[in-house]
Symmetry: C2
């Protein structure tokens, strides 16, 4: 990367006014020139959705009067924000894309449902080094102060070292005070899943409907996983790829009688 | 798997009335007992979105009077359909989940944007063998007849062999006549991406908006990729995993000065 101040694209999935992205902007302003392109409303659970059957609005907004960088509010998903930022706002690839800080965990299997991580992955697909940050606290009043040190340290490392093609980082931060966090751990994604429960109700017109709820189940006993790290007071750093090929199964699959 | 007729969950992302899912249902009825739970409207490009901030409706519908299996129309995403099918409709895991047949390609990087594949992945996360099928023809009048032979052959193989934990199949079928298709090829996901272009317009109220368009770019010269197979007249079969950890980068990442 260049030695001049890097151009940093900041986005998220909780919406442009969420406290988490405000913290991320603060930290990034210390490290580079910031442009914000983020959804105009919460997009949690949007996964890697993109807007292909609807129009997209994207307009400059002023969130804080004393901010000197430019911010844009977009009607689309986090992945849309990255696409439109590169093509229509920056007219170049930023040197880095950071997404978050998400209000809530994106560890283990949550990565596939995560709008925060889809923005980072979208940037990665476009060849931009990218990091998604999440704090394990869903509250709008979450304390993001303890996250700053780690967000800054990881970002500085990415600016210094770059990232290999096809890899982005998924960083999750436990809900602990600064003194309780033990440091950072490089991890693999834990093998965990959600056991869904649907809360069935009836609306005033007599029609049944459901709310999706669920219980998170981690059966992975490994001490090298993001879940282990987070439960033991560490910030988890998982390198994430978007070549989804199960390479380990190719040989077996080739023994199948597919063309008989 | 059991020797009695397997219970097959059928879903898609083009909506329950799309021609593609009708073909898939026809083939699956030859192989097992079918239950359909699919979106009430098109969900293309929804990626792995789930509905966590809104209500879900899911109701039994009759699409064709002479169909004896049960069909349910759901207001949510493809991933929602799999979750609600397992928990609220079947009250058990189906023996197999098939998704599609999608109107349009889900090869290479399209897998991450694909609602069709997110349904298959969601089933995989829940431990259900799963396959996503796509035909490289966006038209609602697409000819699905030539796909039947391949859909049946792959599904029979999965019923016979099962799939390893953490792996689902992404099957793409070229837009060719039955006699032109050369057979099936086991492939890896090509390293390709979209170069976006936004079509900027102004609405009657004077507000700018955009339509997302783009050009598909495949720089991967490999002859073992899904793109190569499809361009050369083969049906591509890619095993897909949802452990997104970039295992090959863990050692390097551990050399970073993260805790200094």
């Amino acid at each position: 990367m260049t030695k001049k101040r890097p151009l940093i694209l900041v986005t998220n999935d909780d919406g442009i006014t969420a406290p988490g992205i405000r913290t991320l902007i603060e930290v990034m302003k210390e490290l580079g020139d910031v442009v914000v392109v983020a959804p105009d409303s919460p997009q949690s659970g949007m996964g890697h959705a993109i807007t292909i059957s609807d129009t997209l609005f994207c307009e400059q907004v002023t969130i804080k009067e004393n901010y000197k960088h430019k911010e844009y509010s977009c009607s689309g998903t986090p992945a849309d924000c990255v696409k439109i930022a590169t093509q229509e706002i920056l007219h170049r690839k930023p040197d880095l894309c950071v997404s978050g800080i998400n209000h809530g965990s994106n560890s283990s299997i949550n990565v596939i449902y995560s709008g925060t991580m889809s923005a980072a992955v979208e940037a990665g697909v476009e060849g931009i080094p990218a990091i998604g940050f999440s704090l394990l606290d869903y509250s709008l009043n979450a304390d993001f102060e303890p996250t700053k040190k780690y967000v800054k340290a990881i970002t500085k490392n990415v600016i210094k070292n770059g990232l290999p093609t096809g890899v982005v980082l998924n960083v999750n931060i436990p809900k602990l005070s600064a003194s309780e966090i033990k440091g950072m751990k490089v991890c693999r994604q834990a093998n965990a899943h959600w056991e869904e429960e649907f809360d069935k109700r009836t609306n005033p017109q007599g029609r049944d409907y459901y709310w999706l709820t669920g219980t998170f189940v981690n059966k992975d006993k490994g001490e090298d996983t993001d879940e282990w790290a987070l439960q033991n007071g560490y910030v988890s750093v998982v390198p994430v790829q978007f070549d989804l090929t199960a390479h380990h199964f190719l040989d077996d699959l080739n023994t199948w009688e597919l063309n008989d």
